[in-house]
């Protein structure tokens, strides 16, 4: 079967598995990212990690350790600044993440020798994923998913109606802190695969597509990771045959699906002159 040809190569098998796992993880956490209107945080954190990744490289520290600590630090800093209220969350993200990104760029401009690795950090290196990387990504995905599943009800309450959730005894501050930590870890796991510039798309587009298909939160939690998986798998296949960047093809696949659905519902809206394009299913 020609469809199985790519699987003859280990780099493709690893990349394919990584794309599917990260697609599911980003699709899952992305539901909360989109509903909590934190898309910009996902985008910002991935840029912040760039600083940590470059520093790790320079200091010869393992990427997951160095960039991971950097991501956690950036996430907590954003959380602290935005909760002081005198600076909005968007401004806090802008300050922290662009500073971190700028630090990375400054170091790169000094050490011109590692252009290729930086390119991988910026645009992903899915075909360079090793078995060890794959295991790390898989373990991170399982831990993040397990915490998200255990906290799904409190997260839902704190996302839907934070003030009332707080009055009912849900520790919204702790929930926010846990969530931003999970988000930082997710971005860390995904950056090596999709790259700094494309991670946010993997977290935002699948839940937005799923939102077109259902009005139910529980179904959204199932559909969004599934869409992430499908886009990851299809994107990998297409990139193999088209010989285009895998990370970019994955994001473009999900973007294409989004455009198809948006167009379909646009025509349906015009036909019905109804409310937003959400199905009742």
């Amino acid at each position: 079967m020609s469809l199985l040809v790519p699987f003859e190569y280990e780099f493709f098998r690893n990349g394919f598995l990584a794309a599917v796992v990260v697609g599911a993880l980003c699709g899952f956490i992305g539901v909360y990212v989109v509903l909590r209107r934190m898309s910009y945080i996902g985008h910002g954190l991935s840029h912040a990690i760039f600083g940590g990744a470059v520093l790790s490289y320079v200091m010869n520290v393992n990427f997951f350790v160095g960039a991971g600590l950097w991501a956690l630090f950036s996430g907590l800093l954003i959380h602290l600044i935005s909760h002081r209220r005198w600076v909005g969350a968007d401004a806090a993200i802008g300050v922290v993440t662009t500073s971190s990104f700028a630090l990375g760029v400054a170091i790169v401009s000094t050490y011109r020798s590692f252009t290729r690795n930086i390119e991988a950090a910026l645009f992903g290196n899915i075909l360079g994923i090793t078995q060890k990387d794959l295991w790390i990504v898989l373990i991170i995905s399982l831990i993040v998913s397990a915490v998200l599943i255990m906290l799904r009800r409190q997260l839902l309450f704190a996302t839907f109606d934070p003030e009332v959730a707080s009055a009912y005894g849900v520790s919204t501050g702790k929930i926010d802190l846990i969530f931003i930590t999970l988000l930082a870890v997710t971005v860390l796991a995904s950056t090596q695969i999709l790259g700094v510039t494309l991670v946010a798309a993997a977290m935002v587009i699948p839940p937005v597509i799923a939102r077109y298909l259902t009005n139910r939160f529980q179904r959204l939690l199932i559909l969004s990771p599934l869409i992430g998986i499908v886009c990851g798998a299809v994107g990998m296949y297409l990139s193999f045959y088209l010989d285009v960047s895998s990370a970019a093809t994955i994001v473009l696949t999900s973007a294409a699906l989004f455009i198809v659905l948006e167009t379909f519902f646009w025509f349906r809206r015009r036909g019905r002159t109804l409310h937003p394009p959400f199905s009742t299913g």
């Binding site: 509903l35 255990m150 906290l151 009800r153 409190q154 839902l156 309450f157 839907f160 109606d161 003030e163 009332v164 959730a165 707080s166 009055a167 009912y168 005894g169 849900v170 939102r211 259902t214 009005n215 139910r216 939160f217 529980q218 959204l220 409310h275 937003p276 959400f278 009742t280």
Partner: protein
Amino acid sequence: MNTHDHPPGHGHGSLHPHGIEEPPVSKVSGVPLVELANASNSYGATIALQDISLKIWPGQFLAIVGPNGGGKTTLLRTILGTAPVQQGKVLLRGKDPQRSSLERIGYVPQLETIDWNFPITVEEVIAMGFFGRGRWFRSIGDDERRKLQDVMARLNLSGLGDRHIRELSGGQQQAVFLGRALLGNPELILLDEPTAGLDIRSRDDVIHFLHEINHQGVAIVITAHDLNWVAAHLPWVVCLNRRLIAEGRPQEVLNASVLKETYRGEMVVFHHDGMVMIGERPHAPHT
């Protein structure tokens, strides 16, 4: 007229002017559910509440009326504990709120503040009432599922659990959030403008639910703008404009001088067949 020293109750099983039987107000323990003592609250330099002293008793049903920006929502949030007082104190059952259970207070926010595009069903919203303090990692058991169904049946929401919240009528939407509040077996439910934006039928549904819940001994505090609706349906009213202007039965409190002080405007108050009716005084025509 300030009736702070007025007895807290509003009759003991007596009939309201509209034939609604007033539920008995319990003073068994002699301790109010909520007591605000000279409570003041501000947002930066803006004073939201000033020197408020108010007691809410078990089984009481009262409305807080006042102009926009008069502190009605802030008063609810102060009772709830999400807007801490800067001066004075708030006691729940005579105790510091931090040492008493806040789970026994239900809160229904203004429907306007709800994100109606949020992907969530009726049942998912009501079930949030289970996810309060100490419920980390726990899921819903069989008993809780039965209780959820009971509450939905009480509020005529049976069979609507899988619907998106936007697909309901205004009265049903209010019932959903009331259901969420009811799941915690509250002694007190606070509702922020539960009739805002509702048509007459939906408002009737809401007051029906509220009276039914109140008759089961739950104290209810609502904020409202429609003075005639308050006068017709509620036994006790608190007039608020950053400070407490007056409280008492609508027939006693809703008079021209109190309303003028509360709203800083002239209103016409007249009595008909035991009812209080409030109208706006028309502006003099321009010449």
